[in-house]
């Protein structure tokens, strides 16, 4: 009896063990298979995941954060036709099959993207004028229209479900989560430089979504700039915007984007500002409050560092440093680059970063991976600032200059597509470089500063 009774539980344990082991293996296999699929996904499949720009069908959706991420957001989309009525229906509960939401917001800003049409080409040899005209008309870029709904008075740490509606055409249901009012139990993803390599750009977008699936604490995605090659070309922005749809999770979750302007994103027509609903004169630099404990200060390395920007930065740092636990900065051109020379902004920005003990500086532009040693006053210093970057969302990676002191002796550099994942906790920030296959190239911890 005793024997029997001992045997049964043993058999049960092994069965449970077998099931658990099998499940674990199949889970690992599933994750692995997904990762393999990610790097091998063919172009047709990638394109089929994006929404065609047709009529007033809402496409190219994004949620933009540049202010108080606990309370407000801008929900934006694009249509192929101008339409007349553009509304976002939203609320803290899913609209269900009937798509009924507690709140709605009519877009406060609508307009045509500024498109520079290519110059008509002369008839080629053996081509008639009519044929040339036909060819030129094919080259014409179709118009497209932006719609921005600025939603305010949101509740913190709440999932907001929404659908986009343009002249009766509705999108599927999406949702995003607002930042907590206080505390820092969340994750932020940072990445930059998606200006070429469409297929890899798409795969990295899918990687971002995968990260958010595997780590539900992912709150938002901060882009370090250089979305495209030529910022004045709508025909490039629309590709990026369609491909950005891939960062949406299968369940409809949208990761709000916190934009930075790169050196390739400019242009007299101001498309960057139309895409992200920013005022060109007053919002080239801004602070995104991710609750009251985490602040992400975005700077513009296309504008002069001195003058207005430095004055703003100094005042902002002075205001924020005593209030927040984690003070982050992001900008495009690196102050401590691993490939090129440093940004001309370094002599002005870095002393301010040092003075106010910034916790981490997020950089892009170099097309490589790097984590510097902590730096203060241009020297290695354990109390200094770690600079990480430098962009790998599809763009070809560059070889780093291994001899630079700040990436040696505790620092690190490499060349692969990547995003940087920042996991916040009250006493430390975990900084991981996640590669396209989901593996971590670097896993570093920064301790919270004494206040």
């Amino acid at each position: 009896m005793n024997k029997k009774s001992t045997k049964i539980p043993l058999m049960n344990t092994s069965r449970v063990g077998f099931i658990v082991t099998s499940l674990t293996f199949s889970l690992i296999a599933a994750v692995y298979a997904d990762d393999v699929a990610l790097s091998k996904l063919d172009v047709k499949t990638l394109v089929s995941k994006m929404t065609p720009l047709k009529g007033t069908t809402p496409a190219q959706w994004r949620v933009v954060w540049t202010g108080d991420a606990s309370r407000e957001a801008t929900i934006s989309w694009t249509t192929a036709e101008p339409g007349t009525k553009h509304v976002v229906h939203y609320g803290p509960e899913s609209g269900g099959n009937e798509k009924k939401f507690a709140l709605s917001q009519t877009c406060q800003s609508n307009g045509a993207y500024s498109i520079e049409q290519p110059k008509p080409q002369k008839p080629k040899e053996g081509e008639s004028a009519a044929e040339a005209a036909k060819r030129n008309s094919r080259m014409k870029i179709s118009p497209a229209y932006y719609h921005h709904a600025r939603v305010k008075n949101l509740n913190s740490d709440t999932c907001y479900y929404f659908i986009l509606e343009s002249d009766g055409e509705q999108s599927r249901e999406f949702y995003f989560r607002t930042a907590p009012a206080e505390g820092d139990d969340f994750t932020l993803i940072h990445g930059g430089d998606s200006r070429s390599g469409h297929a890899d750009r798409c795969r990295m977008n899918l990687r971002i979504a995968e990260q958010a699936i595997s780590e539900p604490k992912v709150l938002a995605f901060a882009h370090g700039g250089d979305y495209i090659v030529t910022g004045s070309k709508w025909e490039q922005w629309r590709l990026w915007l369609s491909q950005h749809e891939l960062t949406t999770l299968k369940d409809g979750r949208v990761l709000p984007i916190i934009p930075t302007k790169g050196n390739h994103d400019g242009g007299k027509n101001g498309l960057y500002f139309e895409v992200f609903d920013l005022a060109e004169k007053t919002e080239r630099w801004h602070t995104t409050m991710l609750g009251k404990d985490v602040a992400l200060v975005t700077l513009d390395t296309n504008s002069a560092a001195g003058g207005a920007q430095a004055e703003w930065l100094e005042a902002e740092m002075k205001r924020l440093r005593p209030e927040v636990r984690w003070l982050l900065v992001q900008y495009h051109r690196p102050m401590y680059p691993a490939v090129k020379g440093p940004a001309k902004h370094a002599p002005i920005f870095c002393p301010i970063f040092d003075k106010y003990n910034v916790d981490i500086a997020l950089e892009s532009d170099g097309h490589c991976m790097k984590r510097t040693v902590p730096i203060r006053d241009g020297k290695k210093d354990s109390s200094g600032i770690v600079y990480v970057g430098e962009g790998g969302l599809g763009v070809g990676q560059r070889k780093t200059s291994e001899d630079r002191w700040y990436i040696n002796d505790g620092g690190k550099a490499g060349s692969e597509h990547h995003v940087i994942q920042l996991d916040f906790t009250p006493d430390k920030m975990r900084v991981r470089f996640i590669l396209m296959d989901g593996s971590a190239w670097d896993d570093h911890t920064i301790k919270v500063r004494k206040r």
Partner: protein
């Protein structure tokens, strides 16, 4: 006295000095340009070639065509399925391009350093100076195509003194009156282009120029206000534009000497603002200072120069 005799007098006085200054300025500009190629990622041409290859290998054009057809209903025809090349073969090709880039840069550096000596023995090899000239010109053009910098599209005229310096060297070392006359005009036009473009950028309040002023003043603990910075840049811009007109219009030694000094100050402002590591930026801009001085040494007339005899008197130092 004819123009030709005046020129001969001038070159008799300064032939060595003239070519030495030009050779030194050329050497420095190539050194400053080659340094980042070897240690900071590559030249503008290298960047352009690498990007073109990567974009092609990644099948971006086909991808775009597919998106345009499937999502935007534009082309309606996608001829080929998108083929992406194997990342390893892309990396191999990129590495080859980088090596080639470095190789060409080193060759230009060797030419800039070696030709002054070789020319003493074989004057005809002076025409090899056109190779660094073409390399610098191509880099300026590639910089314009790469974009991503304020006023990048104006890189070719903005860098005219750099690539022009080697054209001048080739002309000067061939040592005949006609080529000296051409050299005079190449120098004047190169100075005019470089100063005019920089003047225009300053007048337009180019952000990097603003930061040079902020950082330089910051070093001497002077907090430059934004309005003062903008005012100063506009004044500098106006001055540069006037100097650009002046160098082609008249032969006026104080104006040319000031251009030389100003070229040196602006070149030096880079390492002053950014620290010693920015010395290549200083080196590559030395022709902005050397070119006006060479015009002085050449002592040949500009478009609306004073009478030839006066110029001769001006340029000949008291003996």
């Amino acid at each position: 006295m004819t123009v030709q005799t005046r020129m001969v007098i001038s070159l008799k006085e300064h032939p060595l000095l003239l070519t030495r200054i030009a050779a030194l300025a050329g050497m420095m500009t190539v050194f400053g340009t080659v340094w980042p190629v070897l240690f900071h990622g590559g030249s503008a041409v290298g960047e352009l070639l690498v990007r073109t290859h990567e974009v092609e290998a990644a099948g971006d054009a086909d991808f775009e065509a597919m998106m345009e057809a499937d999502l935007y209903g534009e082309t309606g025809e996608v001829s080929e399925p998108v083929t992406e090349r194997d990342p390893a073969s892309i990396a191999e090709h990129v590495s080859l391009l980088r090596d080639l880039d470095r190789g060409v840069a080193i060759l230009c550096l060797l030419l800039a350093v070696g030709l002054p000596f070789l020319c003493r023995k074989w004057p005809k090899v002076a025409w090899l100076y056109l190779l660094p000239a073409v390399w610098l010109l191509m880099n300026a053009h590639a910089g314009a195509m790469n974009g991503g910098k304020a006023f990048a599209e104006l890189a070719v005229p903005a860098q005219a003194t750099r690539w022009g310096m080697f054209v001048v060297l080739a002309l000067l070392l061939s040592r005949n009156a006609q080529t000296d006359c051409i050299a005079n005009w190449v120098l004047r036009i190169a100075c005019a282009l470089t100063f005019a473009i920089h003047g225009w950028e300053a007048f337009q309040l180019s952000p990097p120029f603003q930061d040079l002023l902020y950082a330089t003043f910051g070093h001497v603990e002077i907090g430059l206000s934004e309005s003062a910075c903008h005012g100063l840049l506009r004044a500098i811009g106006m001055m540069d534009l006037l100097l650009a007109v002046g160098v082609t219009a008249i032969h006026f030694r104080p104006l040319l000497l000031w251009m030389g000094c100003w070229g040196l100050i602006t070149a030096a402002s880079r390492p002053i603002a950014m620290g010693f590591d920015a010395w290549p930026e200083f080196a590559m801009r030395l022709p902005n200072s050397a070119a006006p001085l060479l015009v002085v040494l050449l002592g040949m007339p500009a478009a609306f120069s004073l009478s030839p005899s006066k110029i001769t008197t001006q340029q000949e130092p008291a003996t």
